[in-house]
């Protein structure tokens, strides 16, 4: 294994936030710096597409034994979709579109969750779940029709570093870079039979982080009237607005 150095011209897009130069920053007196990165493994999807990278980063300040935990499982972002169906004849009943998939890491062949996928360059929800929905119903879901719940919830966040973090949910920030914006969509027809009664969603989806997170964001934004405001705003503008913060994910 031959180590290589990053060329001086190497820049990381978007990471211009000079947080470490802020004298009020807790680490200002003893800033941490990135010393080295060891790429331990890589998983390819087919011949050309790099899927996951596992690495170990050495990040320390000038004090001895100051290393931060540096293991990272890199996989980039995806998107989750809370699609609520409210058939006209069903009064107040709401259904949520669900998926069942066999995630080997959980050792399960039947994990119940809200759909997960990607948003492609044209702004359409894609991936295995989207494909299944399309196969069953003929429906394609443009991201412009969806409301980005995570962006709405985080827009007032005054937290340090909000600018350099995604407007998304992080499933496991200590071990992975994975981030998942959660979108909300609604339809008046029952488009698929693989649904969960909204009243049971928190329980039936209680093993799945994104399902519970989607519920929490939807409830919070709904109760505070933010979703209604957003829907009214969209009706006024009379066209689909592309969602501001979907990741630049490619299939």
């Amino acid at each position: 294994m031959v180590p290589s150095k990053l060329p001086k011209s190497f820049t990381l897009g978007g990471f211009q936030d000079p947080v470490e130069y802020d004298p009020k920053h807790p680490f200002h007196d003893e800033p941490y710096t990135l010393r080295s990165i060891e790429i331990q493994s890589a998983d390819w999807f087919g011949k050309d597409k790099l899927g996951f990278v596992k690495l170990k980063a050495v990040i320390r300040n000038s004090k001895p034994k100051s290393d931060l935990p540096g293991i990272a499982f890199l996989r980039g972002g995806s998107v989750a979709m809370l699609m609520i169906l409210r058939p006209k004849d069903s009064r107040d009943k709401r259904w949520v579109v669900m998926m069942e998939r066999p995630p080997v890491p959980a050792g399960s062949l039947a994990f119940w969750e809200i759909p997960l996928g990607m948003v492609d360059k044209s702004g359409t929800f894609t991936g295995a779940a989207a494909k299944e929905i399309h196969e069953e119903t003929g429906l394609k879901i443009p991201a412009g029709e969806l409301i980005d719940l995570t962006a709405l919830a985080l827009q007032d966040s005054r937290r340090l570093e909000s600018k350099s973090l995604q407007q998304a949910m992080y499933p496991s920030p200590g071990g992975s870079d994975e981030f998942i914006p959660i979108f909300y969509g609604r339809r008046k027809e029952l488009i698929t039979l693989r649904v969960c009664d909204y009243e049971d969603l928190w329980r039936e989806g209680a093993r799945d982080a994104k399902t519970l997170a989607a519920w929490a964001l939807y409830e919070g934004l709904n109760r505070s009237g933010v979703i209604q405001e957003e829907l009214v705003h969209r009706r006024k503008t009379h066209r689909s607005q592309p969602s501001q913060n979907e990741p630049d994910g490619t299939v």
Partner: protein, 310 residues
């Protein structure tokens, strides 16, 4: 281990730790030779994951199982990388599992193996000894620490860690809570929200269109942050405590974690009603809120204590 030779693969056959294998499975070890067969087989996260997967694969033998006519088989495990916490304690494994059926269809097999942990929704309410009946706005505690994987030095999360041998909350967040806030979270203080929500909800791969039958899988009664890539599961627990008004005020004004040199974990008070926004990037915070609100509405959540711990 003799220095850095490329290790030989080995085969798992018959049964693994009491769980039947329906076919042989070849296991490859990391090329750098620093992780042995015994290291892998004794790693608790590996054992738990493999036993569970094998058990759930075996459910396919039942005719009603969705995959019965084209069963998936685990044929290979490639242990690509290992991370050691100390010279003797294995922390994480990164593996690629080959799980495929007779029709050449395979399941995504990349697994970041790390085992389970625990997440705590800690709700605090002030207590005025001069006016013991008075209620205050409920607060919660978030931790802020460097999270290299997400590229952040300051992402707010609810406390996470482990339960030690006695069932008490342990780890860096627990230590910080004890040192800076004077709170120790013991087994008796914990209310397991995940278990209550999930234990009546099995996962069952029933054949499409048929009603669920008795084919329930082995699965944790916990939350899985990222089931598609990682074995990690966390039961989300609730802990509710009263602190004197004085104590709460000190906490509110304090910036914990800065007193000690190199202290990297800090704590902050956040009003419970704002956690969904202030902790909105943290899956466990949002998930814990979802469980807390729903269980509370159904009357399952124990009441807030009427006074501080003795």
């Amino acid at each position: 281990m003799p220095g850095n030779q490329k290790p030989e693969p080995f085969v798992l056959t018959g049964n693994f730790d009491g769980q039947d294998l329906s076919n042989d499975c070849t296991v490859y070890l990391p090329e750098n030779g620093k992780t042995s067969k015994d290291d892998v087989l004794n790693f608790p996260a590996f054992k738990d994951w493999l036993k569970r997967l094998l058990y759930n694969l075996q459910r396919q033998e039942d005719e009603a199982h969705e995959f019965h006519s084209n069963k998936y088989r685990l044929t290979e495990i490639d242990v690509q990388a290992a991370d050691w916490f100390t010279k003797t304690r294995l922390g994480f494994l990164k593996i690629q599992a080959k799980v495929e059926n007779g029709a050449g269809e395979s399941l995504p097999g990349a697994v970041f193996l790390r085992g389970g942990s625990v997440g705590i929704l800690l709700i605090l309410e002030a207590y005025d000894p001069k006016d013991p009946q008075r209620r205050f706005e409920q607060q919660t505690i978030v931790t802020i620490q460097p999270r290299i994987a997400s590229g952040s030095l300051a992402l707010a999360e609810i406390p996470a860690g482990m339960l030690d041998g006695k069932g008490d909350f342990a780890g860096k967040a627990a230590d910080e809570l004890k040192e800076e806030v004077g709170i120790e979270i013991k087994e008796d203080d914990l209310f397991d929200m995940s278990k209550l929500a999930t234990e009546q909800i099995p996962t069952y791969p029933w054949a499409k269109g048929k009603t669920p039958g008795p084919l329930s899988e082995s699965i944790e009664n916990s939350m899985y942050p990222s089931a598609g890539g990682c074995d990690e599961f966390l039961p989300l627990m609730l802990c509710q405590k009263r602190l004197t008004v004085e104590h709460m005020e000190k906490l509110d004004g304090k910036k914990t974690g800065l007193r000690k040199e190199g202290e990297r974990i800090r704590l902050r008070l956040v009003p419970l009603k704002d956690l969904w926004k202030e902790g909105g990037r943290d899956a466990k915070a949002l998930a814990a809120l979802a469980l807390y609100e729903s269980l509370k509405r159904e009357g399952w959540v124990p009441s807030m204590p009427t006074k501080p711990d003795a």
